[in-house]
Structures are given as structure tokens and as C-alpha cells.
Subunit: 386 residues, 2 copies
């Protein structure tokens, strides 16, 4: 099962170290030219080369090992050649650890205006200034090579759900053809390119798409096009259909997901990597994650609350009272969003760390059940579900 | 000249350690229950118990030893009794070093709506929600005792400049009477109360006001009502008129000032303490202080600039390129204001540290001239003057 050094470049490897005996959860290590990442891993989102409001040392102290940046956003502003001229993403941002860049496929679907996808390329208008722009698989690779992340993603074709079966099939087939074009365009030896499985909620289409991509032998595989409006159970079922079609010895990355419970559900099904804006976005909106569910810190009930967000949490936000944190939000102070982003990322990273230990010790299912009980899932549908 | 332990409480002392032989610049140590402050010292402004965007450890790394908070703002939001219930300002904010609170006199003049001052009290409307509120000398002391800073300020009567001589005299006389009422109201043994000299730009009135306050034997004296629109030379002349009327063995605090050059001009005239929003406010507006003047980092000229703001600066912002910092501002990322606030505070604290060393070594005037030359002051009125 453990099978190191199967990735395309010697500086890269992925090794599965342990698989839980009662589920498909696995613990591993992804090595990159900028360091190793213990998996399952959660990647905070640094859209334009900054995890909003956090200095690099604050980000490190959350337990973060790898961050995500967005090729779409960086190509628009400041432009990938500016980043390249200023030394590439690592030097530019000051984050010297592993970085993954998304290709822009998701932003073409979610953010760009009037996107038109043809076989050759996507044409769209910038969400910032309306400029007419285009993105092809080759251009997405070129942008990401200029940015210089450790892991780049192929350009995929994402469609909203629910959708016509033909539209979903068409996008999945295009994603396979674009993956081949992306692979051929890639030049950098210090960067690996992961493929992205599409196919909506159709298990056959997902398996077909995964099969075609696996034939091309990518060093890693993402599952894309989820968390776009479907029910959690549909997402879990799609993971169950897709993951068996992916090789054991390559990392599996569930893009853009999600809630803590989604992370554990995906880990049980064999996912290794995650990214999501949820911990930072919720943090900016005064919502804190805890083992007992969400705290909405603007609530008047916390005005004089001397307790930390969560006792036992080692983050700097938890050296303050809920009353102080509430005050920062009510007064519109930047430090509120910063401290809650730190807490929430620390919460996610501690969850991943505990999940890894549980896998090593063969008790992931118990860990998962205990967390669910804390979050009160399956106990009457409380709104405290994170 | 050196004369320790003359302050009202044994946990407090102010000791002058060195006076420059060629000017009135002096180096000293202000001791408080929460630690010592080397003077001349610059206090960053943490209006509502947060220096905007900065975590406590980031603030410490700028070289900051003492911070200022505003009684007016905190009394409005979250209310001083909330701060008190949550352990007082130190525990509330997480800043365990020395803290000074301003009384609210300046905010009554600058921020509150429809302020009416009578002998008994000021009546005004909250700038947040228009509530009718009042502030008397006794209430200003009670608020500050509830907040629990190390140093509190008497309530003073601030008037705009220029103004009628009678209005300035009336406010200065009221400030003296209110200082006496403030002093009588003070109860906490772990907090000292500084007086504030008013009197506009009238040297005789300043001296009279200082004389009356000195008779009351306060442990420290502030010079207020400056940096309200007068020319720098008028401010410097007012300092020259006022400071000789203040005792050598008590700290002198110039409130709300200012530019780096103002700090050095005031230090030459014998000032020990400063506070100002300038480094943090300018930082939030993408303006950085350097020894060669101001950098406006939104400027296109910095788009691809690989240099740090200032070479040799040890702050985290200076581990990045100007190009990255510009990108953060153009993209509207919170990290831009944060990093520039860090840089600017580091600049101010390094300036204070270098000033202290220059005083110890009897070369403050040379230091002052070298800084002025770097800032290009007196060389044709360049706009680079910080």
C-alpha cells in the first residue's frame, strides 16, 4: 500500500503511511520542493497570495502546512508575470511552505461574467473591470508555471448543479480532453500537475472520467464540481463512486469542501487534501467553530462572557474572552476578523491533526462519532451543526 | 536631576537618566505596575482596546512598550463596566504592558456632536448613535478607574484654534479647575493621574496654566490642545514656553503629536511621551515612513519593485517587496494595512530607540540633523517630508 516516489519528479512523492481498518481513511505524507505535508491536510485559501488578514507566522501557528492560491485571481491582479518577476508565489507572498494553485476552472463558473466555453478555450469578462479575457488549458498551465506553486491544477469545465445530463457529460468529456492538453503543456520540473474528475452526481460518469484521467497517469487527482448546491449525502455518494476508480498511491483532493463534518465524511471515504474559504470567511463574519458547534460572536449573550471561544484551544484568540471578541466585531475593528480567522483555521488544523492520529491508531470511526456527537449531528437537526 | 520615586504610588516612578548637553532632550524610565517604559517613548493608539489590525505579539515586535486607549470610545462601546467585568483593559485586550487612557477631553472637541461645556460638565451626543451623554471630571476619572489603565488623564477643556482669546483663557481656567476636581475624585492606588496644560498658543496663558497644575503636584504633565491646525513652528514655540514651567522630575507628554520630525523637535525641547494615530492611519492608507521620506505604495511605480520598503528594517513588512505590498492594497486585502501599520510603528519605535541612544551619548542634535536631512527638511520643501 505504501508506495513512495511514484510522482513525476524526484522532489515530489506521496506515501500512504496508514489506513484505518474500519474505513477508507488514510494517513500519508505529500512531499514537495517546499516541504512535506501530512495528510489528511486542510489548505487555507489565499486567493490573491494572502490568507485574508493573516501574517505568515500567524498562519504557521495555526498548524497550516500548505496553502492554496487562485490562478484566475492572480492572473487578473497583479498579473502572473508580475508575480514571476517578483520571484514567484513563495517569495512574493512570504509563505515558504508548499503552495497549490487552482487553475481557474471553478472561477470561470462561479465568478467570471458571461463565460462562453468552446472546445478551444473559455472566453469571459473579468469580474473586476469587465475586460474580455480567455483561458485555455495551455494558458492555465502557463499562468500557474509563472506563479510557480508546487502543485498546479489542470483547467476543468465546471457546470452548475442540477443540470441537464448532456451538459454534465459534455463538461466531463471536455475536462478529460483539457486534462490531456494541460499535461502536454506542462514544462516545469519543480511543479506537478493534478487532474480534476468531473461528472456531476452521476456515478457512472464520475467513474468514466476518473478512469480516463488515471490512464494519463497524473501524480494526483482532484474531485471537482462538488459543494455547488447539492445535498451533503449526494456529495458523499459521489465520493464513494469516484474514489475506488482512483489509484491508491496518489493523493486525492476534494476541492472547495467544506464544513468540518464534510471533511471527516470525505476522509472516511479516502480523501487526503481539502481547501475551503469556510474557516476564514466564517471568521470574518464573527462565526467561530468549536467542538460543540458554532458560536456567533455578535450575539448579545457574549457581551460579558469571560470564557474563551473554546477552552483548551491554543490559539491567540482563545487567550481573549468572548466578550472582547464580540466587542471587536461590534466596534468594527479589523482585529475581530483576524482573531476569528486564526481560531477557525486552528480549529480546522487541530481537527486534521487529530484525524491523522486517529487513523494511525486505527480509531478513526470512533473519533468521527465523537466529533459528530459534539456537533450534535443526528440528534434532532440542531442549527449548531458546523 | 535624576530623581526616582517621586510619583504618588510606590509602583510608579519616573527617573531621568541622561540629558543631552546641547539641548533639552532627556532620556528616562517611567515605571508602572505593568512594566517600565523607556523615554522618549511613542504610544500607539488602541482607541477601543485594539491597535487596529495588530495582534499583541505583532505590536510587541514593533518595539512598543506602552499603548494608549480612549476612555471616551470605550465608555460608549462596550461600556467601562463591561471592560471592568472582563478584568480591566489589560486582561480585556491581552496587552499586559503599560497602558495610558485619555480622558475624553479631546474627543468632546473633535468627535462628539453638539458638545456643550458648562462648569459642572460637558453634555454631548454620541458620535455613534446620537445618545445624549455627559462627561464631568469625576465621571472621566470613574471611567478610567473602571478601565484600569496604569496612567489616567484629567478631563481637560479643548477648544479649536484659532479662537477668541477669551475662549482660550476660559477653557484653560476650566481645565485647571477640572484638574483639581479630577485629582480629588481619584481613588485607585495602582493608577496615576496626569494633568493637562491648555492655553492655546499664548505663552503667558500656557505658563500660568502649567504653574497652577504644578502647584497641585501631579505625577506627570501633558501638553494638550496642540496639533489642532496650528503651524508646526507655533507648536514648537508653545512647547518652549510651556516646558520650563514643568518640573524636571516628572514625565512630560505631548498629546496627539505627530510626524517624526515633530517628535524630534519636541524631544529637543524636553518632551518624554507621545501618542498619535499617524503611523497606523497612514499605514492603513498605504503610506509608509522611511528615513528618506514617505512612500505611497499604491503608486504604479512600485508595481514590480522587488525592494523592501526600507532596507535594514527588521519588520515583517520589509521581508516582502514593495510590489507585493502594492498588490495587497490594489486588491483590497486586509494584510496591506496590517503590514504597513507594522512597518510604520516599527519605524516610529526605532526612531525613539535611536533618539534615546543619541541622548545617552550626548549627540542628539547631530542625530536630529541627520534625520532631517534624510527627510529633506530645509532643502526646498520637498513633499517627501514625513
Amino acid at each position: 500500500m505504501a508506495d513512495a516516489h511514484r510522482m513525476s519528479e524526484s522532489e515530489f512523492s506521496f506515501q500512504v503511511r496508514a489506513v484505518d481498518p474500519r474505513c477508507k481513511a488514510r494517513r500519508g505524507v505529500l512531499r514537495t520542493p517546499h516541504g512535506a505535508v501530512e495528510t489528511p491536510a486542510f489548505l487555507p485559501v489565499g486567493t490573491v497570495a494572502s490568507v485574508k488578514g493573516l501574517e505568515v507566522d500567524q498562519l504557521q501557528r495555526t498548524g497550516t502546512q500548505m496553502v492554496l492560491a487562485n490562478a484566475y485571481h492572480l492572473a487578473l491582479r497583479p498579473g502572473e508575470e508580475v508575480v514571476s518577476q517578483l520571484g514567484g508565489l513563495h517569495r512574493f507572498s512570504g509563505w515558504e511552505g508548499p503552495i497549490l494553485t487552482d487553475s481557474g476552472g471553478f472561477q470561470l463558473f462561479s465568478l467570471a461574467k458571461m463565460t462562453k466555453v468552446t472546445e478551444e478555450r473559455a472566453v469571459f469578462r473579468s469580474h473586476i473591470d469587465g475586460r474580455l479575457l480567455e483561458l485555455s488549458p495551455e494558458r492555465a498551465v502557463a499562468i500557474q508555471e509563472a506563479l510557480g506553486a508546487d502543485v498546479a491544477m489542470v483547467l476543468d469545465h465546471v457546470v452548475p448543479l442540477p443540470n441537464h445530463p448532456e451538459a454534465i457529460r459534455d463538461a466531463a468529456e471536455r475536462t478529460v480532453r483539457w486534462a490531456e492538453r494541460s499535461r502536454r503543456a506542462a514544462r516545469r520540473s519543480d511543479q506537478v500537475l493534478f487532474a480534476i474528475v468531473q461528472g456531476g452526481l452521476d456515478p457512472d460518469l464520475r467513474q468514466w472520467c476518473a478512469g480516463r484521467l488515471v490512464e494519463m497517469e497524473f501524480p494526483g487527482y482532484a474531485i471537482g464540481g462538488l459543494s455547488v448546491g447539492e445535498a451533503p449525502e449526494q456529495m458523499y455518494a459521489t465520493l464513494e463512486a469516484t474514489i475506488p476508480a482512483l489509484p491508491e498511491d496518489r493523493p486525492r483532493y476534494l476541492m472547495g469542501v467544506g464544513r468540518p463534518v464534510d471533511l471527516l465524511e470525505a476522509i472516511r471515504r479516502g480523501v487526503d487534501l481539502f481547501d475551503c474559504v469556510m474557516p476564514t470567511r466564517n471568521g470574518r463574519n464573527a462565526t467561530a467553530f468549536t467542538d460543540e458547534g458554532l458560536l456567533r460572536l455578535r450575539n448579545l449573550q457574549y457581551e460579558r462572557d469571560p470564557l474563551p471561544i473554546e477552552s483548551g484551544c491554543p490559539c491567540v484568540a482563545c487567550r481573549r474572552s468572548r466578550g472582547y471578541l464580540r466587542h471587536l466585531f461590534v466596534a468594527g475593528e479589523m482585529l475581530g476578523p483576524i482573531l476569528l480567522s486564526i481560531h477557525n483555521l486552528t480549529y480546522y488544523q487541530r481537527l486534521m491533526s487529530a484525524a491523522r492520529d486517529a487513523i494511525s491508531e486505527g480509531r478513526f470511526e470512533d473519533f468521527y462519532e465523537a466529533k459528530r456527537q459534539g456537533w450534535r449531528i443526528g440528534q434532532g437537526g440542531s442549527t449548531l451543526v458546523p
